[in-house]
Amino acid sequence: MLFLNHVYLLPIVPAVGAAVMFFFGRRLRKIAIDTVCIGVIVVAFLFACVTVAEYSSFAHGTGQAFEKIVYTWLGSGDAQLASAMNGGAHQTFNADAGFLLDPLSCVWLLFVTGVGLLIHIYSTGYMAHEGGYYRFFGYMNLFMFFMLTLILANNYMMMFVGWEGVGLSSYLLIGFYFHRHSASSAANKAFIVNRIGDVGFVLGALTLFYYLGSFRFTDINALARSGRFSIGDPVLSAAALLLFVGACGKSAQLPLYVWLPDAMEGPTPVSALIHAATMVTAGVYMVARSNAIFVLAPGAMKTVAIVGALTAIFAASMALVQNDIKRVLAYSTISQLGYMFLALGVGAFAAGVFHVFTHAFFKALLFLGSGSIIQAMSGEQDMRNMGGLKDKIPTTHWTMFVGTLAIAGIFPFAGFFSKDAILWQTWTSEGGAYRILWFVGYATAMMTAFYMFRLMYLTFYSRVRMSPAIRDKVHGLSKSMTAPLVILALCSLGAGWLSWPQSLGGSARFEHFVEPVFAHEAVVLEHAGKSGQVSAGEKEAQHTDKAEYLLMILSLAAGAAGWGVAHNAYRNAGKDYAEPIAQKLPRLYGLLYNKWFVDETYDYVFTGRRKLGNVTLGALGVGEAASWFDTKIVDSAINDVGWVTRAASTLSAWFDRWIVDGLAVRGIAYLTLPFAYVARLFEWGLVQWYALIMVAGLIGFGVYYVWK
C-alpha cells in the first residue's frame, strides 16, 4: 500500500517537471526537456497504475473510498460557522489538502495519465520545431498537476484549486501563440467564460457547506444518503443547479460552450489533451462526484439531461458544415459532452462515465490525427484545400478511420457501446419520460456519423484539392507522432469491450467497477419510483428486452446512414464540390455555417461589442448608460450646485481672509513657530543629527540606570 498511502505525491510528480521547466527550461536542450517532461508523465502513469492496483486490492470490489488527508490548508482555525443542517452544529470552515480514491477517480486517473502520456509523446514530434518548446511542456506538466489535483481532491475547495488550475493552464496553452491576436483573444474568451461557470461552482460548493457543514465528498455523500433530506429539497436543488452551472462552463455546455471552438487556436496536442479528452470532462466528473446531491434534486437532473441533449444536437448541427478540421472536432466534442450530460441527467451515471472513458481515446485520437494532417499539410487547416491524403499519410489515415468508426458508433468500436448504453438508458429511464430526448440523441448520432465521415472523405478520399506547392511538401511523420496514434487507435477499438453489454453476452465489467459509487443512488431512485435511472449494469441484468436490440440496430443504422450520405456527397469532391445542405437548404446552411449566430448574439446581448441599431446592450451598454447618467444627470446637478456654492464662497472668502486666516490661522501659526523649531530638531535630514539624538538617548538611559 506504499503508493496508495502516498497518493498525494502523484500530482507532485508532474509539478516537479513543470517547476524544472519554468526555472531552468530555457537553458535545457530539447533532449533534456523531453527526458524530464515525458519522464515525469511516465512516472505519473506508472504511479497511477500501481495506485489503482493497490486501491482495488484495498477495496475488494466494495468501492470503499480511500481517503488520505495530509493537512488542513484552508481554514478558519477555531472560528466556527453554524451550518443550517447537520443539527445546526457549529462547524469549522476547513478544507483539507486531502486525497480521495474511489472507482470514479480511478477511471479518471488512468485515462488522464495514459492519454496524457501518449499526447506528451506525440507533442515531442508535433512541437519539435516550435519556439518556446520548454514553455509548452512546462504548461503541459502544469496542467497534468492540476488535473490530477482535481481528480484526487477529497473536497470541493481542493477540487476548486484543480478546477481553476486547469483553467489557468488551459488559458496559457490556448494563448501559447500569444503573438497571434486571435490566440490571445481566444484565451481570454475561454478564461472569462469559464469564470462565469466558476462562480456557479463556488456558490454551489459554499451552499453545500452552508447546508451540510462540510466540503468533503465523503461527509456530504454520507449526509445526503442519510435520508434526512427529502427528494427535491430546495436548497440542495439550488446547490445542484449552481454546481451544474460550473460544469456547463468547464464542459462547454449550452449556453457557455462558446469558448471551446475558439480554444482550437492552441496547438493541436493541447486541443487533444485538454479540450477534448481530459479537462472538459471535469464538469462530468464533478457532476458524477456530486451524484448524491443530484439524485436528491430531480429538477436539476432534468435540467442536466435537457441541456445535455440540446447541446448535443445543437453542436452536432454546427459541426455539419464547418470547414476547419479542428472546429469540426471541437463541435463534435461539445456534442459528445452533451451526450455525457444527457446520460448523467437521466441517472445513467455509469454510462455517462463510460462514455467519458471511451470518448477520451477516440477524441484524442481524432485530434492527434487532425494534428498530423495539419503538420503534413504544413499548417493548412481548411478541409476544402485537402483531399486524397489517404496514401500520403497512411498511418494517420487508418488510425483516424478507426477513430471515426468509433465516434460514429459502429460495432464493435468503443463508441458503439458507450453511445448505445446512453441511448438505451435514455429510452428506458423514468418509464420512458425522456424518450423525446432519445430522439434528439438519435438524431445527433446520425449527424455525428455524417460529419465525421464528411471529414474523412474531404481529407482522405476525395480528389486532391490542395495547391501543388503544398502537395509536394506533404510528408510523412515521425515515429513519436505515429506511435501514439496507433496506440490510441487500438484503445478506440478495444476500450468499449470493457463494458460489453450483458444483452450481447458480455459482463459489463466497467459498469461493475464504478457501480459502487452510484449504487446507493440507484436505490434512492428506485425508492422514488423512478426505476429507470439505475446504474446500467444492474438494470441490464433486470431488463433484457427486445427493445434494446432494436435500439442497437437502429443506432447502427444511424451510423451507417450518416456514412452513406457522406459517401454519396463527398466521395468525389473536387475543387468546387457542393455541400449537400447548402444545395438543399441554403438558408439553414447559412445559419449553421454562422454557428447559429450565437457569438454575434452574445456580442449583442452580453458584451455589447455589437450595437443593436443605436442601442448597445450587455456590459458595454451598461457602461455607456452609466456614463450617460454620470455626465448628463449627475454632473449637471453638480454644476448647478457649484454655482450656488460659488456665490456663497465669495461671501465666505471675506470672512475667511480676515477672520479665519488673520485671526485664527496666522495667529496660531506664529504661536506654533517656537514649538515647531523644537520638533524640527528631530527631522533635520542629517544622519549625524539622528546619531546625536541616539547618543542623547543613550546618555539618558545611562543616567537613569546609574541614578536609579
Partner: protein, 186 residues
C-alpha cells in the same frame, strides 16, 4: 633569565604581563584616535587595522584565542580590505580640500564627552560589581567549547545553533544586498 624559565606554569600561566595590556590598550586607543582624526581616509583605515589588531591582542590576553582569530581573519583580513577597495573606488582626492568635520562637531564632541564621563561615573559607582580577580578559562579547549555552544555537543543541539543559522542568513542577505546595490545598471 632564570625567572623566565621558571614561569612554566603550563596552561595557567598568564599570556603576558600587565605591560602588554597597557601597551595594547594604548595602541588601540591612540590608533582609534587617529582613525577619527586623519584627513586621508586610507590613513584612517590603516589606523583602524592597527586598532583591530590590538583589540585582537587584548582578546588573546582574555583567553579568547578563537575570537581573536576571528577578529583577525574577518576584520583585518576581510572587512578592511573591503574598506580599502571602496576607498579606492570613491576617489578621495577631493577630500583633501574639504572640511574634515561637520558643522555639528562641537555638539557631537560635547555629547561624546558626556557619554564618556557617564561611563566613568558608572564604573566608579559600580566598582564593587567587578571582582579584581578574573576567572580562568581553559584556553586549550576554547575553540571546542565555543563549537559546543554553537553547534551542539554529543548529539544535542547547541544553545546558539539557531541563532548561528540566522546569522549566516543575515550574511547571505548582506552579500546579496551589496551585490545588488553595487551592480552597474546597464
Amino acid at each position: 633569565m632564570n625567572s623566565a624559565i621558571n614561569a612554566t606554569n603550563a596552561t595557567m600561566a598568564p599570556v603576558a604581563t600587565p605591560y602588554f595590556f597597557y601597551g595594547l590598550a594604548t595602541l588601540a586607543i591612540v590608533s582609534a584616535f587617529l582613525v577619527i582624526t586623519r584627513r586621508n581616509v586610507v590613513h584612517s583605515a590603516l589606523a583602524l587595522i592597527v586598532t583591530l589588531l590590538s583589540v585582537a591582542g587584548l582578546y588573546l590576553m582574555l583567553y579568547a584565542p578563537f575570537v581573536a582569530g576571528v577578529q583577525i581573519i574577518v576584520y583585518a583580513g576581510g572587512v578592511m580590505v573591503l574598506f580599502l577597495f571602496v576607498i579606492m573606488l570613491v576617489n578621495i582626492d577631493r577630500s583633501y580640500k574639504e572640511k574634515r568635520f561637520s558643522g555639528l562637531w562641537p555638539i557631537g564632541l560635547a555629547a561624546a564627552s558626556a557619554l564618556f564621563t557617564l561611563f566613568l561615573f558608572a564604573f566608579i559607582k559600580g566598582r564593587a560589581l567587578f571582582p579584581d580577580r578574573m576567572m580562568l578559562l581553559p584556553e586549550s579547549s576554547n575553540t571546542q567549547q565555543i563549537a559546543g555552544l554553537l553547534y551542539g555537543d554529543a548529539g544535542k543541539m547547541g544553545q546558539y545553533t539557531f541563532a548561528f543559522e540566522i546569522a549566516s542568513l543575515l550574511l547571505l542577505v548582506a552579500i546579496l544586498a551589496a551585490v545588488v546595490m553595487t551592480k552597474k545598471r546597464a
